[in-house]
């Protein structure tokens, strides 16, 4: 049961993080295309925002690892 929960959870985590980072990438590339001279600033902001999303996603991933290893049963 824990393994099933971990598998489904990891899938949802990947889905959410992928959507989030994809949207950041889309917005960043569009902005760079529109204003190439600001690409440095946009890249910095992009990495920072992606790092925040990644943090939440990895928190979910760690919980999935805990579930898969059967901690808390």
């Amino acid at each position: 049961m824990g393994l099933l929960a971990a598998g489904i959870g990891a899938g949802i985590v990947a889905l959410g993080a992928g959507l989030g980072i994809g949207m950041i990438g889309k917005a960043a590339t569009e902005s760079i295309a529109r204003q190439p001279e600001a690409s440095g600033d946009i890249r910095g902001a992009m990495i920072l925002t992606a790092a925040f999303i990644e943090g939440v996603a990895l928190l979910g991933a760690v919980i999935c690892i805990l579930l898969a290893l059967g901690i808390g049963q």
Binding site: L48, A51, G55, V56, L59, V62
Partner: protein, 359 residues
């Protein structure tokens, strides 16, 4: 906090090792690939197999309380000499306990991750001192920086100073934090990159290491907090009192979630990179088990080439995660050390003129 995290992590590792052991007993014991064992902390230092049987044992240091209630600090050269001294016995789970009752208060043993932590920090120190010596002699100040080493060093240093510190921390305060940020960046980079070497361990794939690094950032953030920072936490300006009842606990929680996320991010990134490589190489053995040797050769070509790509990705991620850790540290410090309360009306019209003239 660090103690609790350490306990959680040790529980995790212990459980994983014990599960892999039950798996091992079902099959041929020597054939099992212990995934968690390769990322866990050990009391020995892995070296190439032809020296000392592949392991150099590290000292064990305990602060412990004996059955009579006196606390003692004991140091031994290795786990073997601990057992030979007769003061400690090994339990079935492999943990050490005092022979005549009592318990270990703190296990201060030197572990492989600690060695790599020291090596990373020492390498950062040595390189920085070397570069500082050159700048003291005037190379790089009166003339251009010379040689590949100094040029690369200057690129990195100026990057941390300008793009990380000065962009995120108030201008007149930023330079105070550059030494800390640069140490963090270099130390974490080296620790991450050490993990790419065969036999070496990734120190940052250990929650205790990343939690310690995040704790340092936490302490520095709190100590550089201005009056405005504390006002925003305990008495948020410009909102009704009943909102403050909700906001204050949230802000206090926010103080701790930031370094917590910092620690988890670095830890999970480095750990997942390591496990991913082992898992993809492990496919070869799984296919050999399921479909025979032919399938394993086919998968082997695919796995090995994918591992090479993953290795390159890991080298990039190692530097990227060090950068992100440093950048977020700078952002958090910058948020705490900000000088002005932006809530007051007319702030921008009042101050923008000053800032323009100051620049």
């Amino acid at each position: 906090m660090v103690q609790t995290l350490r306990r959680v992590f040790l529980t995790l590792l212990f459980l994983s090792i014990s599960t892999s052991n039950t798996f091992a007993s079902e099959q041929d014991e020597a054939q099992v690939l212990d995934v968690m064992g390769t990322v866990a902390d050990h009391n020995y230092f892995k070296v190439p197999g032809f020296i000392n049987g592949g392991k150099i044992y590290l000292p064990r240091i305990f602060y412990w309380e004996s059955a009579e209630g006196e606390s003692k600090l004991s140091a031994y050269l290795s786990t073997k000499s601990v057992l030979e001294s007769g003061e400690f016995v090994e339990t079935e789970e492999g943990a050490l306990v005092p022979a005549n009752g009592g318990h270990i208060i703190v296990d201060l043993s030197i572990t492989s991750h600690l060695i790599y932590f020291w090596m990373g920090m020492l390498l950062a120190l040595v390189l920085t001192v070397m570069a500082a010596g050159r700048y003291k002699r005037g190379i790089g100040r009166t003339v251009e920086p010379q040689g590949a080493f100094q040029n690369m060093f200057e690129v990195l240093f100026v990057f941390i100073r300008d793009d990380v510190a000065r962009d995120n921390i108030d201008h007149h305060k930023a330079d105070r934090y550059v030494p800390f940020l640069f140490t963090m960046f270099m130390g974490i980079s080296f620790m991450n990159l050490f993990g790419l070497l065969p036999w070496a361990a990734t120190a940052t794939a250990d929650l205790t290491v990343t939690a310690t690094l995040a704790f340092v950032t936490f302490v520095i953030t709190q100590f550089s907090g201005t009056k405005d920072y504390w006002a925003h936490i305990f008495w948020f300006p410009g909102v009704p009192t009943w909102v403050r009842v909700i906001l204050t606990p949230v802000e206090i929680l926010g103080m701790f979630t930031k370094p917590f996320a910092l620690a988890i991010r670095l830890f999970a990134n480095m750990l997942s990179g390591k496990i991913m490589i082992i898992a993809i190489l492990g496919l070869v053995f799984i296919f050999a088990d399921l479909f025979g040797a032919g399938a394993a050769y086919g998968v082997g070509i695919f796995s090995v080439s994918l591992t090479v790509v993953l290795y390159a990705l890991k080298a990039f991620v190692a530097l990227l995660q060090a950068y992100i850790f440093t950048l977020l540290s700078a952002v958090f410090i910058g948020m705490a050390a900000e000088d002005h309360a932006h809530s007051e009306e007319g702030y921008y019209t009042e101050h923008s003129a000053e800032e323009v003239s100051a620049n």
